[in-house]
Symmetry: C2
Subunit: 226 residues, 2 copies
């Protein structure tokens, strides 16, 4: 299959996430393009077109087999090929990433964490050992690590990225505000914990929503009863 | 000023984040639309147009006063009006959000955290007290809390959202995979820690990048020297 266009890829990932979320913990059977479209605000005809691109064909009036859709997207996007990643910076955010049950769903296996703090080295978070940063290069090369997750101060990010890339790392999941320069062929995916706050601030800049007094009363009553 | 279009708002927030990042810790003076455009992959003429929309006028050959740009965007988007938020779920991710120095930059003041775990209640994370979830409704109403941050199991998200909305909360920053239903006028901003992993998996599905042996050797040498 030819490389997917970025917009198609993004939509396929959203469909996958939606189906994985709704099927979490219970058996999903069939799903229609209208249901996916309504939930994700995508035109149902677009959903069908994207599914067609990856070879998925729906049944008239029934829709798509949800398992087959998930399986196909997993294969097309590559979630079915587990790859090793290391976490650099074993702080609070690093701990939250290690604790996320979702990471597995996308093929990532975080195999080690690194920190420069000698008090953290040797400890375990979420079953992963924290190693000293001085062994990072050797570890990455020996274990052919493909992804590095950066949750470190921004000033340390570029030198570490250079080291990681020279050790064969092919993708950097960058939680720092640093803008990293990497050679062609290496992916930097910037991620900000605070990405949504701009939209929230703008929403709250508007007039305050009126809350009816009986809602207050009902809420207190409900809270007291629980 | 009329409500900004979503795409314009998103770009303004990106400009602000870029300028806040690059000026972190040192005095920024002027900035050109070309520099912002190149860094953010936006056409410089679009940058100038967006700046014009919020009343910013550049000086020929000099560009824009970086402080003025930041100040103007802060005002337009509403980052200059601090608002109170509560965190619900004082786990690892909650701790990482409380620890983020960036939250302040967007006007958010997290004034309390709530958890259902009695062992957590009464403790402090990042200077914020953890309160029992049963006092949530009263607290939110008394302190006129406008934002709630959800880092809880998805099954608890909708009942909590209902309670919060009835207590006057106007925006929910939702880190759970639950799809929340809220009345018109309440904003739900979904945020996934793992948002970037789809793109990373697809990148890594491609052929492995060749690493030259001398890069390996240099990396080990560099690591040994440090």
């Amino acid at each position: 299959m030819a490389r997917l266009k970025r917009v198609v890829l993004d939509r396929l990932i959203r469909y996958y996430r939606f189906l994985a979320d709704v099927s979490d913990g219970r058996r999903a059977d069939t799903v229609t393009s209208s249901r996916i479209g309504a939930a994700l605000e995508v035109d149902p005809s677009q959903v069908r077109k994207d599914f067609g691109t990856v070879g998925l064909i729906g049944m008239s009036r029934v829709g798509y087999d949800a398992c087959e859709v998930c399986r196909t997207i997993r294969t097309v996007v590559g979630f079915d090929r587990p790859y090793g990643g290391v976490l650099i910076g074993a702080g609070k955010l690093g701990g939250a990433i290690l604790a996320s049950a979702e990471v597995d769903r996308y093929g990532l296996r975080i195999v080690a964490a690194f920190d420069s703090d000698p008090f953290k080295v040797g400890r375990h978070i979420e079953g992963v050992t924290i190693l000293p940063i001085r062994v990072l290069a050797t570890y990455v090369m020996e274990h052919q690590i493909r992804l590095a997750i950066l949750t470190i101060p921004p000033s340390a990010a570029q030198p570490l990225a250079d080291l990681l890339v020279s050790c064969g790392v092919e993708a950097i999941w960058n939680f720092t505000p640093a803008r990293l320069e990497v050679p062609r062929g290496v992916l930097v995916r910037n991620q900000r914990l605070t990405a949504g706050l701009g939209e929230i601030a703008y929403h709250l800049k508007g007039p305050r929503r009126a809350v009816r007094h009986r809602d207050y009363a009902a809420a207190i009553e409900g809270a007291d009863a629980s």
